[in-house]
């Protein structure tokens, strides 16, 4: 399946400088990592050496090292250092495929069909946000989004407005949430949620409970659909 356009991958908050996170987009394994200067990078999650996930590795300054044999890569995905062969000028062929990256609306976005100026502009999202959390659910992305209006907060049903492509806006009482939809795999999805503006910590905790309930509701709906399929 070809990947078109920009996909939200992780909340910006959830990759601190010097850390990495693995994820998948339509089953394709991706690593998002942040160097010590704060720049985010989105790469194929696979070391060219033995195929170990780069997301298991560790960030050292502006290089990321594979956990297995410590092969180190610079921010262009180029292998620069192989500990077992410290004097080796590493061939340019040893490179991790890299993808387009952008940060917007408190999320890190990846573009897998184009890099640099060829890529369509990334989503235009407000900067004045407070990150809430990501909901990971064992259900297709469409179902997760569908269940949002059915998970009430304090008895009030949320209102959902689809804005563009993979973004929805959710109104929950006097709070507005913005969520990026990530299709992880056929029956797995992630919803990266931020709150507009600066709600209080107590409000954020209430919203976090709401997000947990959304996960439960969506997975229950997915399980019921499956039972329905089997029964039919």
């Amino acid at each position: 399946m070809s990947l078109q356009g920009w996909y939200p991958l992780v909340l910006a908050r959830d990759i601190a400088p010097g850390t990495s996170a693995g994820t998948r987009v339509e089953g394709k394994e991706i690593v998002a990592w942040r160097d010590d200067k704060g720049a985010a990078h989105v790469w194929e999650d696979r070391c060219p050496h033995r195929g170990m996930k780069m997301s298991f590795g560790f960030v050292r300054g502006d290089h990321i090292a594979c956990l297995y044999h410590g092969w180190q890569y610079d921010t262009a995905g180029q292998c620069r250092y192989i500990p077992a062969h410290p004097d080796l000028d590493v061939p340019k062929t040893i490179k991790v495929p890299t993808f387009g990256v952008a940060e917007a609306g408190g999320m890190v976005w990846g573009n897998f069909d184009a890099e640099g100026e060829d890529a369509a502009p990334h989503p235009d999202l407000p900067g004045d946000i407070t990150p809430l959390r990501t909901v990971f659910a064992d259900c297709p992305a469409a179902l997760l989004v569908e269940r949002v209006p059915f998970t009430p907060l304090d008895g009030i049903a949320p209102e959902v407005k689809a804005t563009e492509g993979r973004i929805i806006e959710i109104r929950l009482g006097d709070v507005t949430l913005i969520a990026g939809i990530q299709p992880v795999a056929e029956r797995e999805a992630a919803l990266h949620i931020v709150a507009a503006g600066n709600p209080s910590n107590d409000q954020m905790k209430r919203l976090a409970f709401w997000a947990e309930q959304l996960r439960r509701d969506a997975e229950e709906a997915a399980a019921n659909e499956k039972i329905g399929e089997i029964a039919a």
């Binding site: 994820t23 997301s55 954020m204």
Partner: protein, 210 residues
């Protein structure tokens, strides 16, 4: 003070919990290596006399014999932690620590079982155990997500307690039972905070740097 003896198996994550706390408290113990695999020495009469089902770790100090990692952690915190941070005296904080200690022994036991089934050929329904382990990790991640909004980096508050020690290995070793860290961002952040505890040590399967 007379010596502590720890009956230990390096690959056992419950033994690691005790080794980790001992290191964080700067307490020495005589470690007796018990040959669990392949020797099944934990089922020898000598060990069964101390721990009736052969479960490790076991700690001996003079006349006291303790098994159950949670009890050993609590006893060490009670008797060997002059600063008193690892097991708070404040009743509510104490209650929270006990809740997570119980969680580590009950809900999170699926993770311990999943790991031994996956790695050491113990009998078990690996898929069911894995799913149950994942649900326990989700509950932990949900909690730490909310703790972070309160500015707390540890399970029971701003400082590490034996709750963090008891919960850490099953998350850190989750790849052993095929559960990645991808879906637990709050636990990734918490794991970095645990690694910062003075005296932190690893065990086989937990990298020195992440």
């Amino acid at each position: 003070m007379s010596a502590l003896t720890l009956y230990n198996y390096d690959l056992d994550e419950n033994c690691y919990k005790v080794r980790l706390l001992l290191s964080c408290l700067g307490v020495e113990a005589d470690q007796v290596a018990v040959d669990v695999m392949p020797g099944k020495e934990n089922l020898s009469p000598a060990i069964l006399a101390m721990s009736p089902f052969g479960a490790l770790p076991v700690v001996r100090h003079d006349d006291l014999v303790l098994y159950e990692a949670e009890a050993i952690l609590a006893w060490l915190a009670e008797t060997r932690d002059p600063k008193g941070g690892f097991l708070p005296k404040d009743p509510d904080a104490f209650g929270r620590v006990m809740m997570w200690l119980a969680f580590s022994a009950r809900e999170l036991d699926a993770a311990v079982q999943a790991r031994s089934t996956a790695m050491m050929d113990a009998p078990g329904d690996i898929d069911a155990l894995r799913m149950a382990a994942r649900e326990a990790l989700r509950a932990m991640d949900d909690h730490m997500t909310r703790q972070h909004f309160d500015g707390f980096e540890y399970f029971a508050g701003a400082e590490p307690t034996i709750a963090d020690i008891a919960l850490f290995p099953s998350f850190a070793l989750s790849r052993d039972y095929n559960v990645d860290h991808d879906a637990f961002p709050a636990l990734r952040r918490w794991a970095r905070a645990v690694r910062k505890i003075d005296g932190f040590i690893t065990m086989p399967g937990i990298p020195e740097y992440h």
